[in-house]
Structure formats: structure tokens, C-alpha cells
């Protein structure tokens, strides 16, 4: 357990800030395309410079995801992915990278099922996540109104609760979301699903990020639709982290070395 020292997430953001760059948050779907190759990809991506790993739990009905991540989840489930299996991957990554922050990305249902199954309920499940080396939770379909079932036990177990802010969120909702969040807040860059086309230079996005900056002391990560180093470069000066998902999933289809070189290119762009 992390005890009183700042969590891995806070520590990593502090490191990146000291280096004068944004952190690279890399998303990959666990078990895509199967256990072994997923593990190889995860290790390669972290080796190549992912600062924060966002590990996706496959779900049968990923309504917030675009085609690339949907297909990854289909491949993963066909290969027998389970929440337990994905947690197994997390602990393997943890063995190799002691200080790397790992955020579990999931839809609510697989997590709530696991809470029901755990003899100690949500508290027990969250404590186990922490022991396995998970640092934070990002649950797409638990807006603040519905989050209490999982958020309180997660915080109690020492997990960070990552808040999602959308371009459509009005001020009152943004305040609620950032107040409930810990670790960092995730600014969704566009009105759409993951992997959609993003204009990283848009004035609206710049204004959205500036507005968010005025609402919270927490680090801000921006993501959805970031694919290219040029986009990372454009966004890095405005935020603490840039999230890349679909583009890494796509690169991962060609195996660890292609994924690693993609990560290295994106990472090199984080100095802005």
C-alpha cells in the first residue's frame, strides 16, 4: 500500500512537470488480441515511454468507444478476456514497472459485478485492486450522480477517482466533477466517441481547457482523437497530460515494435 507518500499518479505528474513536459497517458485494451500478445504490447509501450498506463477492461457493449477500440474489445473477449485476467495483466506490468501509474479504464458493469462477487463488497474489491498495483479508476458510464457506489470505496482504498469533463458539461457539472476527482481530471476533447477526428488547434478546445484550468488544482489530461505527434505538441503546453488511445490500439495490431516506435514518437512530442 502506498501509505502516506504521494501516490504514483501524483509523483509521475510532478516528475513530468519538473522535466518541463506533459505526461503521455497511453490506453490499451487488456487481452487485445489475447493474453500473451497483450502483455507484450503493454510492456513494450511502457518501456517506450508511456508515463501513465490506462488499461482498458473489455466490455461487450462499449457505447462510448469508436470502431478501433470496439474491435479491440471484440478481439479481447473472443480470446477469453475477463476482469480477473486484465487484473492479472496489471500485476504483471506492476512487477516490471514499480513506479508506473496504472489507471483501470472500464464500463461500470464488469466492476459492479466484481464488487457483488467480492465477499467484502466494493470495499474489498477496491482494496484488492490497490494490492494488485492499480492506482486509479476511470469509469465512463458513472457520471457524478451515479458514482457513489464505487467512488467512495475506491477513495477509501487509496485509489484515485479520475473525473471526466465533456465539452458539453455546463459549469455546475464541471465543478461537481472536479471536486469529486482525485489524481487528475480527464478533459474529453470532442463531442463524440473515442477515436473521432480531432482538431487539436481549435479555439473552442483551447477555451475549454483554459476554463477547466480555472476550476481545479488537479493535473489536467486531454484525450479523445489524439493520434499524431503534432497534436500532442499542440496540446502539451496547455495541459499536464495528453491521452492517446485508438492510435496506440491501432499500432499495437502490428505488434510490440511498431507500437513502441509509435509511443516514442508521441512521447518525443510531449515537450510541446
Amino acid at each position: 500500500m502506498s501509505g502516506s507518500h504521494p501516490g504514483r499518479i501524483a509523483a509521475r505528474f510532478a516528475d513530468c512537470r519538473a522535466q518541463g513536459r506533459a505526461a503521455l497517458v497511453g490506453y490499451l485494451t487488456g487481452f487485445d488480441p489475447d493474453h500473451e500478445r497483450s502483455l507484450a504490447n503493454l510492456l513494450a509501450a511502457c518501456e517506450a515511454g508511456v508515463d501513465v498506463l490506462e488499461l482498458g477492461v473489455p466490455f461487450s457493449d462499449p457505447t462510448a468507444d469508436g470502431p478501433e477500440i470496439q474491435a479491440a474489445m471484440v478481439r479481447a473477449l473472443a480470446a477469453g478476456a475477463s476482469l480477473e485476467g486484465v487484473l492479472g495483466l496489471a500485476s504483471r506490468v506492476r512487477e516490471r514497472f514499480a513506479e508506473l501509474p496504472i489507471v483501470l479504464f472500464s464500463y461500470a458493469n464488469p466492476l459492479l459485478r466484481a464488487c457483488d462477487r467480492d465477499p467484502a463488497g466494493a470495499r474489498g474489491f477496491c482494496a484488492r485492486l490497490r494490492e494488485l498495483g492499480v492506482d486509479g479508476l476511470l469509469v465512463v458510464d458513472l457520471p457524478p450522480e451515479q458514482a457513489s457506489i464505487l467512488r467512495a470505496p475506491a477513495i477509501a482504498a487509496g485509489l484515485d477517482w479520475i473525473g471526466l469533463c465533456a465539452p458539453t458539461s455546463p459549469p455546475a457539472r464541471l465543478n461537481k466533477i472536479v471536486n469529486d476527482a482525485s489524481g487528475f481530471v480527464y478533459a474529453v476533447s470532442l463531442t463524440g466517441v473515442t477515436g473521432s477526428a480531432l482538431d487539436a488547434d481549435s479555439e473552442a478546445l483551447r477555451a475549454q481547457l483554459e476554463d477547466l484550468r480555472g476550476r481545479t488544482q488537479l493535473p489536467i489530461a486531454v484525450g479523445f482523437g489524439v493520434r499524431e505527434p503534432a497534436q500532442v505538441q499542440a496540446l502539451a503546453p496547455q495541459v499536464d497530460a495528453v491521452v492517446v488511445g485508438s492510435a496506440l490500439v491501432q499500432a499495437g495490431r502490428d505488434g510490440p515494435s511498431s507500437l513502441a516506435s509509435r509511443v516514442a514518437d508521441l512521447r518525443a512530442a510531449t515537450t510541446g
Binding site: D61, A64, N109, D141, E145, T191, S196
Partner: protein
């Protein structure tokens, strides 16, 4: 029609006991909140009510009649059976009641584009119809599997000017069409209204669709008092997502002497592939709500199966889960074969060809009469007509007439090929 306060007015978050809620991505929350705010205001607005009622009467053809079914009753061992004829609505099912109201709301909110999901195609056809009536662009998401088995409805939607987008993801059925419609909505939430076709999804949809389908129950209750001289002993309806059932149940919730009975699809049997959410589902969070759902131990939704595309859904609306938990309604399961038999029985005894969905409710009548006695008064929601299902039914019930058609086709195409060769 007077405005009735909802019988189970949900608290702020649309909770029906432990069920309901708003489990959607943050991007959609403001739109969902807007609907939750604006729907009760619109519904209480006399001008809105007047327009809704006018369209239901002069375009949909309401009120729908109540038809006695004495020859059906005689064939199944008695009972006084009355059919609420939603099959006689324009477009052939109850679905249009909801579409009229939601499109009116969308216009009121300034939305200029409509999307919908569809399983059997009935909700898609009804939405496409109302969009044609108002001149609004309409996109309908439909599982590729359903596109194949409901070809006639696909063509109807296109003829009505809607764009039908087949969904190949997942099981390529209704649940996947809902996923894809939600993704469209996330991307186009500023100008688009999503017309959900049943009493499911995030709050306020389950309550809003219930309010809009309640016209079935309000009419039927008055018709029962008028024609039967009393309330029925039981009200019976099929349940997919549960909208025709909630619509007719809603008017009887406060009549404790009236049993409410929902009938779900047991498909190939409860031990095989089925869509029996009430019998075999467990609590889960999906499609914006917390309700019962068919899922595995790991929280992955399972593929449902029913011969009727409209019941081929692994979930159910949260109010049904709550009604059952409260003991106010109970739910039976009817398999594919029983539904087919009921479809042909009603056709022969009453001259009414019901939808395969509706046939599930009809198949439950025989055991219910056996249980409640030959004097029992049973009100059945005849949710839709069977034209759309004729190809499926022909393949299962009348292989001979199908073979006849195929032979004649082969013969005429051979003849044409012969001519072409000369």
C-alpha cells in the same frame, strides 16, 4: 384527455426502487438532464397535450377498439378475452404512440435531426413515419441480423425517407443497434434527439415512454368498464423492453384487484437460447440504466434469442424490474413454438394475424385461464399485427407454401434464363 400524474412518480434520478438511473457518458448528461427537465413541463402543457391527442386521433387512428375474442376463448378452455387493438394503429403497432410524443418534444426543444434504434423494425418504421409527417431527417440503426430477417420493414423505412444503417458489431441485433444509436447521439447531441423505442435507457426515457404509451391503458380501462361492465381480472402483455406492457399496466396500477402479467420470450427454452430477462437476468448497468439483464459472471451482456425480433433483447425496462420486485406484476415465459401456435390460433379463430411479439402474450392465455378459471376476464394488449413476420412464420409453420413459392420462383427464373439464351 386529462393529464394523469404518473402512478409511480420517480424521485429526481428516475429511480424505480433500486432500478433506473442515468448511467451515461458525461457528454450525454446535459442532454439527458434537459429531457428530464423539459419532459414534465411539456407533458403538463395543454397545447402539447392537444397536439399529441390530435395527431393520435387524426393520423394514428386512436382510440383503438376493444375487440372480444369468443372463438379464441372457446378454443383455450374459456375465459372472457378482450383484445386491445394496437395492431390497428397506423404503421401496425403501439410503437407510434411514443414516436409522436417524442418527435413533438424534439421539435419543442429545437432539435432538427432524429435517430432511433430498431429490432423488429416496427419502432424504426413508426419513427420514420412520424419524421416524414413532420419533414425531419431520420436515421435508424438496425442490427445487420435484423436487417436480414425484417427486409420488408427495412424497405418501408427507406420508402418513408429514412436512412437505415445496419450495425455489424457484437451480436448484430437490437442491443448493438442501441449501442450505435448512443454513439451517434454522443457525437451529434447538439442538434439530434434520440427516440428510444421502449421504456428503457437513462432517465427520463423509461418514465417518458411510459407516459406516452399510457394512452393504451387509459382507453382500455374506460372501454372495459363500458363494454365488460367491470375491470378485468388480469391484464396481459408481451415484454421486450416493456413499453406496450407498461402502457397498458399504467392505468391499472392502482386497481389492486387487477393482476398485471407480462410475458417474455423463452426462445428455444430457458435451458437454451432465450430472451427471458425476468426469469434468468441479474441486476446490471447497461444502456444507461440499472435493471435486470442477461449477463455472464464477468458482467458481459449475453446475446438474446427469440423468434420475434422485437423481444430479442437481453434487458428490460427498470419499471418492470421494480413492479416485479414489489410483487405488483408477475412475468411468464413463452417459447418460440408456443408463440407460433398462438399466432396461428388467433388467425384461425378470430381472423386477426398478430405480430410474433404479441403472440407470446396470447400463448399465455391458456395457462392463465386454467389458473384463474373459465369466468376470468382477461384483457390482452394486441400490440401489433403480423404482416412483418409472415416470412419467418411461413418458414416455420408452412414449409409447404414456402416450398411452393420457391419452386415457382426457380421455375420462372429458369424460363427467363431459357428465353435469354435464345
Amino acid at each position: 384527455m386529462p393529464v394523469q400524474p404518473p402512478d409511480t412518480s420517480p424521485p429526481a434520478l428516475g429511480d424505480f426502487g433500486q432500478f433506473g438511473g442515468r448511467y451515461v457518458a458525461e457528454t450525454l448528461m446535459p442532454a439527458v438532464e434537459q429531457l428530464a427537465r423539459e419532459w414534465p413541463i411539456a407533458w403538463a402543457d395543454e397545447a402539447f397535450q392537444a397536439e399529441y391527442s390530435r395527431i393520435l386521433s387524426e393520423y394514428v387512428g386512436r382510440p383503438s377498439p376493444l375487440t372480444p375474442a369468443p372463438r379464441l376463448a372457446a378454443a383455450i378452455g374459456g375465459g372472457q378475452i378482450w383484445l386491445k387493438r394496437e395492431d390497428l394503429n397506423h404503421t401496425g403497432a403501439h410503437k407510434i404512440n411514443n414516436c409522436v410524443g417524442q418527435v413533438l418534444l424534439a421539435r419543442r426543444l429545437g432539435k432538427t435531426r432524429i435517430i432511433a434504434e430498431t429490432g423488429a423494425g416496427q419502432h424504426g418504421v413508426a419513427t420514420a413515419t412520424v419524421c416524414a409527417y413532420f419533414g425531419l431527417p431520420c436515421v435508424v440503426y438496425m442490427g445487420a441480423e435484423d436487417v436480414a430477417r425484417q427486409a420488408l420493414n427495412v424497405f418501408r423505412m427507406r420508402l418513408l425517407g429514412a436512412e437505415v444503417r445496419p450495425v455489424e458489431a457484437g451480436s448484430a441485433t437490437l442491443k448493438d443497434a442501441i449501442n450505435e444509436a448512443l454513439r451517434d447521439w454522443v457525437a451529434n447531441v447538439a442538434d439530434t434527439h434520440y427516440v428510444i423505442g421502449s421504456v428503457m435507457g437513462p432517465d427520463p426515457y423509461p418514465s417518458m415512454v411510459r407516459d406516452l404509451q399510457r394512452v393504451i391503458g387509459d382507453e382500455a380501462r374506460a372501454q372495459c368498464l363500458d363494454r365488460m361492465g367491470s375491470l378485468p381480472d388480469a391484464v396481459v402483455a408481451c415484454v421486450g423492453g416493456g413499453s406496450n406492457a407498461i402502457g397498458i399496466f399504467a392505468a391499472f396500477l392502482d386497481d389492486p384487484g387487477v393482476q398485471l402479467i407480462g410475458v417474455e420470450a423463452a426462445g428455444e427454452g430457458l435451458e437454451g437460447r432465450h430472451a427471458a430477462t425476468m426469469s434468468r437476468g441479474e441486476v446490471g448497468v447497461y444502456h444507461g440504466m440499472r435493471s435486470l439483464v442477461l449477463q455472464n459472471d464477468d458482467g458481459q451482456l449475453q446475446e438474446a434469442h427469440s423468434i420475434s425480433a422485437g423481444l430479442d433483447y437481453p434487458g428490460i425496462g427498470p419499471e418492470h424490474a421494480h413492479l416485479r420486485e414489489r410483487g405488483r406484476a408477475r412475468y411468464l415465459a413463452i417459447d418460440d413454438e408456443q408463440a407460433l401456435a398462438a399466432l396461428s390460433l388467433l388467425s384461425r379463430t378470430e381472423g386477426i394475424i398478430p405480430a410474433l411479439e404479441t403472440a407470446h402474450a396470447l400463448a399465455a392465455l391458456e395457462p392463465l385461464v386454467a389458473e384463474l378459471g373459465p369466468q376470468a376476464k382477461l384483457l390482452v394488449n394486441l400490440s401489433g399485427r403480423g404482416d412483418k413476420d409472415m416470412h419467418t412464420v411461413m418458414g416455420r409453420l408452412d414449409a409447404e407454401s414456402l416450398a411452393l413459392v420457391e419452386r415457382a420462383r426457380a421455375h420462372s427464373s429458369q424460363a427467363q434464363a431459357g428465353q435469354g439464351g435464345q
